[in-house]
């Protein structure tokens, strides 16, 4: 059974008043709240086991190393991958940069890179830079007017342009729309494209089985998955991963150094220069343990119930335009009210203790595609409940009255 009140009690930040009213946190797409087990794993590490990893013969260092490498296994299990196919980065953004940088030598001005206008800037700009460095062409997949992929057209587009690289999001951070990846990745594979899936938004909600998904690379951020800030991950099919050029250089990632020449280690080590974010890695394993202790189906079902409940109530308000696709969605509502500026709506909602986001959501090309400057975004996670929705809708109605 899914006991939502018991779960909410695990998240201390949810139990607070904002402007004198109970916090309604609808900004999980920006960053999720953290369960107690994550907070205390961090605390325990610093208060007891704190030491640097990999190079110490003393007990603290061995304990830290052990916990650190165990954590890699825990997270690898979550995605059903091998621990040596998982590289720690500082976030999804760095993970994409690592791949885009590491492919420089593998592309030239005959190559094509395909992305989409739906992407977060983190999955656009590194590819623009790669295209600039190599002379490769950068193209965007066809999107329908509403921001949904036209899957059939995408497949044809891929067959036509035969990309060397395809980078695409698993779920849109602005809209919450889940991408129908299967046919798109299949088409890319038929042309031997290297595929990267941006899982920053989806990794929490969809608990993806990566070998089954079949992409070459998958990136995520711990802070969007109940984990700490400053940590992300890159999954890469081992050979693809190991074939990337080194990214940052320094300690930990080298085998031997002389002033004349350096020999690097094999993946994942070769991509992990410098002291890692040890505390965050260990706390992230606690987050994944927490997540897997919950029944995956129950979590997803609850999220969808809350999302659908909110979507229905939101759509019933006259003057509201919803941009999200409500069919296949991780739980994000992207909307505007008449011609009102999203900034005003978000600011007024904050007066009621409702935390939503406004703006372009780091997805300016999508905003341009939708013909808007920005939107309000309410994003849900499994720790939201019906009361959150009720408070949100009631507050929103009050705000809209203020504006009218």
């Amino acid at each position: 059974m899914f006991n939502i009140e018991k779960i909410r009690a695990d998240f201390p930040a949810l139990k607070q008043l904002i402007n004198g009213q109970p916090l309604v946190y609808l900004d999980s797409a920006a960053t999720t709240q953290k369960p107690l087990s994550v907070i205390s794993a961090t605390e325990q590490f610093y208060a007891r086991n704190n030491a640097n990893v990999h190079r110490g013969r003393h007990t603290l260092s061995e304990q830290a190393t052990h916990a650190y490498e165990q954590a890699r296994q825990t997270v690898a299990n979550y995605f059903n991958i091998n621990a040596n196919e998982l590289v720690w980065t500082k976030g999804a953004t760095e993970a994409i940069n690592l791949v885009a940088n590491g492919l420089t030598e593998q592309l030239d001005n005959d190559s094509t890179i395909i992305i989409s206008a739906l992407e977060h800037h983190a999955n656009i700009v590194p590819w623009q830079q790669l295209a600039k460095r190599t002379g490769a062409k950068l193209l965007a997949l066809p999107l329908q007017k509403n921001g949904c992929f036209d899957v059939q057209a995408c497949v044809e587009f891929i067959s036509q342009h035969k990309p060397s690289v395809l980078a695409i999001t698993h779920a849109s951070n602005a809209l919450g729309n889940i991408t129908d990846l299967d046919p798109i990745l299949h088409a890319a594979k038929r042309h031997d494209a290297i595929t990267l899936v941006d899982g920053a938004q989806a990794a929490l909600h969809l608990q993806p089985n990566l070998p089954q998904l079949g992409c070459d690379f998958y990136v995520f951020s711990a802070h969007k998955m109940l984990g700490p800030t400053g940590l992300g991950g890159l999954y890469g099919r081992y050979n693809r991963l190991n074939s990337l050029a080194v990214y940052q250089t320094g300690g930990e990632m080298i085998e031997t150094v002389t002033l004349a020449k350096t020999i690097f280690r094999q993946a994942p080590a070769k991509f992990e220069a410098g002291t890692p974010n040890i505390a965050a890695v260990i706390a992230f394993a606690a987050a994944i343990d927490y997540l897997t202790s919950l029944n995956k189906t129950n979590v997803y079902t609850h999220e969808q119930i809350i999302f659908n409940y909110a979507a229905e109530k939101l759509q019933a308000i006259a003057g509201i335009t919803v941009y999200s696709n409500l069919e296949n969605n991780i739980g994000t509502l992207c909307f505007n009210y008449k011609d009102e500026h999203p900034f005003d709506i978000a600011t007024l909602l904050d007066g009621y203790g409702i935390a939503v986001r406004s703006g372009h959501h780091c997805a300016q090309p999508l905003m341009q595609h939708l013909g808007i400057n920005g939107s309000v975004r309410a994003s849900f996670a499994f720790y939201n409940n019906h009361s959150d929705v009720d408070l949100f809708i009631a507050a929103l109605q009050n705000c809209l009255e203020l504006l009218d």
Binding site: D344, L348, G351, N398, L402
Partner: protein, 137 residues
Amino acid sequence: MIKTFKEIALSLESSPSWQQKYREIMLLGKQLPAMPAVLKTSDALVPGCESKVWLYLDFDLEENCLVIIGDSDTRIVKGLLAIILSLYNGLTPEQAINTDAFAQFNHLGLIQHLSPSRGNGIKAMVERIQTMAEQKN
């Protein structure tokens, strides 16, 4: 009719709720005269804000006073802008230097809007005005 800062302060202080306060602020924004499109240059745009905020600063040499024109595409920021204008417009540089927007906003219970973390450009605006006042003084 543009309200003086005194009048604004009075009506904000007598607002029975935060909602009413915001209503007043947005009303002030509505009453702000439109900014001529030619003045909305990229130089006038305050960078790094979610809302678009334009600020045009000039100096009237004859009258020795600041001329400030501003606009925003959001209602709340435009209202806050109106308060800033009511504080500074037409002041001599010396008077402007002696005007403490932070103290006044604090007094009005609006100090949080002057935080740079609000991303609304109000703080940047005050700084631009103060810089000009110091240059002209």
